[in-house]
Symmetry: C2
Subunit: 185 residues, 2 copies
């Protein structure tokens, strides 16, 4: 069973929205999709080259001065077909590894004050993430209200919000419990 290269489909999908360069994709993903996806140049550029060789995308070069030419990619008909077939397959559940939880699980080998600090850091990060999600919602998503894309884009953002909120609830709950355990024990 071959390994599915997810970057390939991410690229195809992005190009279904509009023609883009590798640089554009990186920026787009990093800003708008970062809470459930990420791509690095080291993965993006080679994938783009392979996709071009397989005629799933086409490329046009926009000359530039003082910096490399912009390579703008577009979906071909074959690419659109490939994207559609991938979209129709069930996505199988991801496996995640959460280092914070692993550390917490081995808690009795650690120092309670450090654990509380680590949870604080985590909580702060999640709260910032939630704020970022709000910014993305108003800056990027809002303008598309009423368009066909909107319900889908809203759904992915909503996932980020609900999950982040759940992590915040968990973090505060856990902090309280560990703090009161520290006072007693």
């Amino acid at each position: 069973m071959p390994r599915s290269n997810k970057t390939e489909f991410a690229v195809l999908g992005l190009l279904s929205i509009q023609p883009m360069s590798g640089y554009d994709m990186r920026k787009f993903v990093a800003y708008s999709l970062s809470f459930f996806w990420q791509e690095s140049y080291g993965q993006l550029y080679p994938t783009l080259r392979r996709l071009l060789a397989r005629r799933l995308v086409s490329r046009s070069v926009e000359p530039a001065k003082g910096k490399p030419d912009r390579h703008v990619y577009r979906l071909t008909a074959a690419g659109r077909k490939r994207l559609a077939s991938w979209l129709s397959e069930d996505a199988k559940p991801e496996s995640v590894r959460i280092e914070l939880l692993l550390k917490l699980f081995f808690g009795t080998s650690g120092q309670p004050p450090r654990q509380i600090e680590q949870l604080d850091v985590f909580l702060l990060g999640q709260k910032e993430k939630l704020a970022r999600l709000d910014r993305v919602a108003s800056e990027k998503l809002k303008p598309y209200e009423g368009t066909p894309d909107y319900p889908y884009w809203f759904a992915t953002l909503r996932y980020g919000v609900l999950l982040t909120q759940a992590r915040i609830v968990w973090g505060e709950e856990t902090l309280n419990r560990l703090r009161s355990a520290a006072r007693k024990g």
Copy 2:
């Protein structure tokens, strides 16, 4: 900046609970930690060998008949120190890639009926996961109530419960929205 081999610390941590074989670790992780961690033999056995060479663990062999001898590993003093130092470091946030959300994001290139089916599959999976978490709570966690490990183990399980519940809420919300959009559009 060297890549931190997380399996190494997972092994050290597991051995801080009790001496175990590689096979034991696999089973333990797959049953009790699966919702935030996983390990494969292909990663476990080589790591065990390296850890042994570095004297962070020791090994005793229990002869067996009809199957390979059991290799039981124990933490050494050096291993315990290494574990403690890792535990005290802040865990940096994980980056996840959620294929389902990527597909949903490219929704207008897909077929609404298939998207709804996919969400149904997702929802079912999350509900099963929640049921499994309950089983783990009563079968594995409950007996440890009152012990020093309990608050930590509870916290990790609680994370699983809260996050899974959030995913279920999201899934139902999203299904409703997409279904009513399909009726209208």
